[in-house]
Symmetry: C2
Subunit: 302 residues, 2 copies
């Protein structure tokens, strides 16, 4: 039994278009409808045949859906929900893929009173954006975190969980608040730091940008990948998950200051200790299949 027969995806960027492709592959009999606020994206989605129907309005996309997934930047979730409110069938479940859950929960509850809402966050992505960037296996062996509000129907939660498992994801449940703290450290802080260092490196007077690019294989290039992520998505993440991000940032700054001091006073033992214990984490991430074991990210040296 399929968890849903008619799935609508609002927002056909990297994540929305990957869900569409994954549904086509895993649940080919599902009737798939898509919509994007951008006419150019809709045209591309039609050319790629991402859905059975790509509608020009959000309302038309949801009119017979039993699952609606909002795949828009978190700052646009409230507006996207209001756009579908009038046309949403009474028994439809609404979900999303946003990277911040507490604020999203409030926005969805405000815009869609009485609707069954099961927010979700697939922890997967690439630095690419847009409907052409998606691919069907994006969620394989990645975690999808559901953050159902208190009192959510267990059946609705299980249907959404089953949907994500069929796309290849492992499903975990969390409160929105805990989700936001976990993601602040595993995703939001890393992005902020990557954006910062890439900016710092472009602003130097004594080292040219062309030198930074040329010698980036010394480590810098690893940061540029996530610093190439979608600017709108990430602006919204930081405005939305402000408190948790600021707290993690404060801790990071303290730890960085401690290492800075160790360098200044020449405390090699402290540096060595810190650099030793971080190796174990990498090993665990590889062991648990959240990254490849190949050295150097498996980069080809030809």
């Amino acid at each position: 039994m399929l968890p849903f027969a008619r799935v609508t995806i609002i927002g056909l960027g990297l994540i929305g278009s990957s869900i569409a492709r994954a549904v086509r592959q895993a649940m080919p009999t599902v009737r798939l409808t898509g919509h994007d606020a951008d006419a150019g994206v809709r045209e591309t989605a039609r050319a790629l045949d991402l859905a059975d129907d790509v509608t020009d309005t959000a309302g038309a996309a949801v009119i017979d859906a039993d699952l609606v997934i909002l795949c828009v930047p978190v700052g646009a979730i409230g507006a996207a929900a209001r756009d579908i409110a009038a046309d949403l069938p009474a028994d439809a479940i609404v979900s999303d893929v946003g990277s911040c859950k507490a604020e999203v929960a409030r926005a969805l509850a405000d815009a869609l009173p009485g609707v069954a809402i099961v927010p979700a966050h697939p922890v997967a992505g690439t630095e690419q954006s847009g409907p052409r960037a998606g691919f069907a296996t994006l969620f394989h062996h990645r975690w999808c975190i559901l953050t159902p509000p208190e009192g959510a129907s267990e059946a609705a939660v299980e249907r959404v969980a089953s949907f994500w498992r069929r796309l290849g994801a492992d499903v975990e449940l969390m409160t929105p608040e805990h989700h936001d703290r976990v993601l602040a450290v595993t995703s939001h802080l890393p992005h902020l730091i990557a954006y910062t260092i890439v900016g710092t490196a472009s602003d130097l007077e004594t080292v040219t940008q062309s030198e930074v690019i040329k010698y980036s294989a010394g480590g810098f290039r690893d940061f540029t990948r996530i610093a190439a992520s979608d600017p709108t998505m990430w602006r919204d993440v930081f405005l939305t998950n402000r408190e948790a991000v600021l707290e993690m940032l404060q801790r990071f700054s303290e730890d960085l200051t401690a290492l800075q001091r160790a360098i200044r006073v020449g405390d090699g033992a402290q540096l060595f200790d810190q650099f030793t214990r971080t190796r174990a984490i990498r090993r665990s991430i590889v062991d648990q299949g959240q990254d490849d074991a190949a050295p150097d990210f498996g980069r080809v040296h030809e």
Copy 2:
């Protein structure tokens, strides 16, 4: 004409053993000698047949060499140079692969007065260590920076440059001081930040280490790769290139504070601007072949 007929490698870890493998492949007639201070590494090197001869002492390794490459952590360069001083042939050229060049130049000049010294830094590596981690193509399409001291023989510099080009590297010349500023930003600062954030993430009370590992695909895992690099090597780098690293760190901290403030006051425009300009750098790095074009570092989603 080969630039050198008898090459000696002191230190058979990731870089030293990669040079050995690359020499075997690119210049098979070169007589290759190796030495490592660690008896276990010497044994492994012999088992892997990394060199024609693996000697038990550093002196025995250099006795008939025309090129000696010191592939030891930068903090051990002076001692390694002193170990070979008495046995070094008069016409041998000494080079190294250290990540900091100003301090290394001083250490080599002190230990080896009158010797032809051409320091080098191949900007290439992986997070793995030891003689088994090396591979012959590590230097392909990577830059190797030579930092010859003032008054160095042009012929000696050209022979070392030719050696590296035969291993597949592109060669660039720089002063040691400029090298240290460039690498402070493209390599040393990224490593310091990666080591810091991985440490910060392991020390949280509200988020467990197992959650950090589980949801690392949100961005965190990218940092863990370089935070798994060799602790001894990196301790030495930070103790040796102290001034340039502290200056870059100061700039990074200022830029991070500016973004922190933008988040606190909700300045979405500033965040968006910063996140937009960093995309171009990634594109240049990929265009110049210093990283793969494949999204997500080409990670397999199966």
